[in-house]
Each structure stands twice: as C-alpha cells, then as structure tokens.
C-alpha cells in the first residue's frame, strides 16, 4: 500500500523527487520507516539524537496525532495520508 506524505515548506529541500511524497508499507510504522529510508535527510529534522520526535514536530495520520496511535497496529488504507506539521510555536 502506498500513501501520501506532506511536509512543511522548510523541509521541502530535505527530500528529492516528486511531491507530495509517496511511501509504502502495510502499517503506519512501516510507512514511517520507509519515509526515512527514502529521504534520510529528514531524520535529523524530525528526530533528535536520542531518536525522540522533536518537541515541536507533529506527525499526523489523517486527522489524528500519531502520538495517540499505535503505529505497529495501524493498517494503511487507500487514501490515508501522513502530515508532518509544526506545532504552533510562538506568538
């Protein structure tokens, strides 16, 4: 299953190829892994040295914050999307 991934504008030069991005997997966890495999420069922007999602980065799966999901147990369906968002920060 392939799904679409969107990024904030600041991260668009960290990926190559067509946009929106396409990633593949059977679960959300596999899709996220595929995202970093295909676009390794994204890793430093999304995750810190300890492998933790940066505090002001939000990953949404459709309308849901991934923090509240179990990616391993979330199957992909046609039309699903992952959105990388910046948490509202500052003024």
């Amino acid at each position: 299953m392939e799904i679409e991934v969107t990024l904030p504008g600041l991260l668009r030069d960290s990926v190559d190829g067509p946009y929106p991005l396409r990633v593949a997997g059977t679960t959300l966890a596999e899709a996220l892994e595929d995202l970093l495999d295909r676009h390794p420069r994204l890793r430093v922007h999304l995750y810190d040295e300890q492998g933790q999602l940066r505090p002001h980065v939000l990953l949404y799966f459709n309308e849901d914050n991934i923090a509240w999901l179990d990616p391993l147990a979330t199957p992909l369906r046609p039309g699903d999307r992952v959105h990388v968002l910046q948490a509202v920060s500052g003024g």
């Binding site: 030069d13 420069r41 922007h45 810190d48 040295e49 940066r54 910046q86």
Partner: protein, 360 residues
C-alpha cells in the same frame, strides 16, 4: 586580476549576500537565501571552485549544513551534517562556525557547534565526525552555557602549524590543541571567572570572540564577557588591554592582515546595547596597547542596538574593508580600514554573522 568582494550575511531568518568590486562603493544584494532558517555560520570557500557553506538551524527542525556552488542560486543540504552520537547524550542545536582547515589540508573543514563541541570533515563536507577528545575533556561536567547557549563559536587554525588550533566556548573558555586534536589544554590563566555556579577548574570563562595576530602566531586577542585581553604565549596567559575603551563589555572583534584590531563596546552585560545609543567602532593599531574611536559616517541619532559576536568581519584587500551588522538588521561597512562608514541600504532581520569572501 580584478577582485570581487562578497559579503555573506547570516540572520535569524535567512542569509543575504552583497556583491561588489575592490572599490566597495556599489553593492548588489541577493537573497533572502534559505529564508526561514537561522543562519549562524557562513563560509565562502575558494579551495575547490566556489562554494558557500551555511550552518542552518531552526528551533523546531534542528541544525544542518547546506551548500551552494552557484552563489546561492541553488542549495543542497548535506547528506550528513554534524550530529552527536546517541551515546554522547549531547544535543546539537546550532552550528556557530564553519572554517577551512590548514592550507596543507585543502579538503578539511571544522564546525563549532552548540551544545559545545567540534566537528571535522576531511572530504569537503561530505562526512563529519566529532572530535571527541574535546567533549571528553575532564572539565566537561563544569561547562556552563552563557546567554547565547553553550556554544563553540570560535575556531582558530594556526596557519604556521597544522597541528595547533584554538577553540573558544561560552561560557567555558579557550582550549588549545598542539597535537592535531588528540589532547586539549585549558588556556584561561589571567581570565576572570564568571558566575556559573560550577566548580572553578579553570573553565567558566566567558570568551566572546578571539582572533590571532597575523604576524605572530603566539599572539591572540580576545573580547571577553567583561574585558579585552591579549596573550603573547599562545593562550597560556592573558593580560588586559583596555586603555582608551569606554567599557570592557562587547562581543565582536576582528583583525586586519596588517594587525589593526577592531571592536564595538556595548554598555554592559545587563544592557547589551551600544553606550548611550551611539554606535562607535574602536580601533587599535598597536597590538591592543591603546584604543581610540575611529571613523565618521555612523548614525548620529540614537540607535540602541547590539552587535553579535560573529557579526563583524574584515576583508583581505590591501586597504581592508571592515563590516558589521546589528541586532536590528543594519549593515555598515568601511572601505578604508574604519576611517569612513556607510550603511548598506537594506533593513535585514537580526544579523547573526558577517563574513567576507574575496575572489578573482
């Protein structure tokens, strides 16, 4: 061969480049480049073609290095930027300085980062590795951040000795290696401690900027948190050089190839703007023995601005140009070693770094 001068200006919202010829009267601006990214470090590198390195960071997305081989028309993010190992426990937040290696190492670059550490690339920036001997120094538990963060902001590679290098960190001090980065010596004797709340084991010295004398590699000069100092023994000891200055607080310092020193005092560590709202450059032509205000053409109206530690630079022409940018985004230049000043007609974001790049 005609010479071109490019002024590389980093801000907290991108970079701007200004191009001129040796006369430095007319400037052409390009940018914003890398809009939205903090640009704390820039390097114009002529060793293999013409490449600009930019240390970019963002409080949400972290730091990486981006390069341009066409004067900023297009940019490429390095596949592998400096990054601490997971096991180190450190977080890399900004890239404060990118400098070329010794002339005998044309593929080498060094990067100074926050939180404080030093990285090296020996393949023109393709891969980077941390020089772990520095962060493994026994004083590391006592390293304490200044207001700008725990940053390694100055790297001086000795042009006469490829194995000798100094780094300066806030609010830590100066460290020197004499063996190509295998071991480091704390070089803070004579520098007053600043209150960090940590044990005084020679660190806790808040160096703001440091430069090397072009004629004597053992002579260094420093703008300190509260003081201006020189060392004539490669950093082993420091003595004050403040005769003629209105105060001893400030951030930037630069030196021309003839040895003229420049700095811009600020009111105090509590106010951090120029005294009485008057931007005034000070110059020393006697190795810091005396200082005097220099130049005409700077604003006469009140300008309560600061100048950050990396926001002042000189170029390498025979009649050196001096440049500085303010925290309010003003950019000033002198084409005649500080005698006359002009403002480039642009209002930029907060200026974090100013570098010069002279090319044929």
């Amino acid at each position: 061969m005609p010479e071109n001068v490019t002024l590389l200006v980093g801000t907290n919202k991108g970079a701007f480049f200004f191009h001129s010829d040796a006369a430095r009267k007319e400037w052409r601006m390009t940018g914003p480049h890398l809009g939205g990214w903090e640009v704390y470090s820039l390097l114009g590198d002529s060793r293999h073609g013409r490449r600009i390195y930019a240390g970019t960071s963002h409080f949400v997305y972290g730091p990486t290095i981006r390069v341009s081989d066409d004067l900023g028309e297009t940019w490429t993010e390095l596949e592998t930027s400096p990054r601490y190992d997971k096991e180190s426990g450190f977080k890399l937040e900004r890239i404060w300085q990118i400098v070329p290696g010794h002339a005998s190492q044309p593929d080498t670059l060094y990067a100074g980062v926050q939180e404080a550490g030093l990285f090296a690339s020996h393949d023109r920036g393709t891969t980077w590795s941390e020089i772990t001997s520095l962060t493994a120094h026994p004083t590391r538990p006592s390293w304490f951040p200044g207001a700008g963060g725990l940053c390694l902001h100055t790297i001086l590679v000795d042009p006469t000795n490829a194995r000798r290098m100094w780094v300066a960190m806030s609010a830590v001090g100066v460290f020197r290696t004499d063996d190509g980065g295998q071991t480091w010596t704390v070089c803070t004797k004579g520098l007053p401690g600043v209150p960090t709340g940590m044990p005084d084991d020679g660190v806790g010295r808040c160096v703001h900027k440091m430069v090397q004398d072009p004629h004597d590699p053992d002579t260094l000069y420093m703008q300190f948190h509260g003081g201006v100092f020189t060392s004539t023994d490669a950093g082993d000891s420091w003595t004050p050089i403040e005769n003629g200055l209105p105060g001893n607080f400030g951030f930037p310092m630069c030196i021309t190839k003839s040895g003229a020193l420049f700095l811009i005092p600020l009111d105090s560590d509590e106010r951090r703007y120029v005294p009485e709202g008057r931007i005034q450059v000070y110059r020393s032509t006697d190795r810091g023995a005396s200082w005097a205000p220099v130049g005409s053409g700077l604003p006469q109206r009140p300008e309560y601005v600061g100048v950050l530690r990396d926001a002042m630079a000189v170029d390498s022409l025979d009649s050196p140009g001096i440049y500085f940018g303010t925290t309010m985004g003003q950019l000033f230049y002198s084409p005649d070693e500080g005698e006359t000043w002009n403002q480039i007609p642009a209002q930029l974001p907060r200026i974090t770094t100013v570098k010069t790049w002279v090319t044929d």
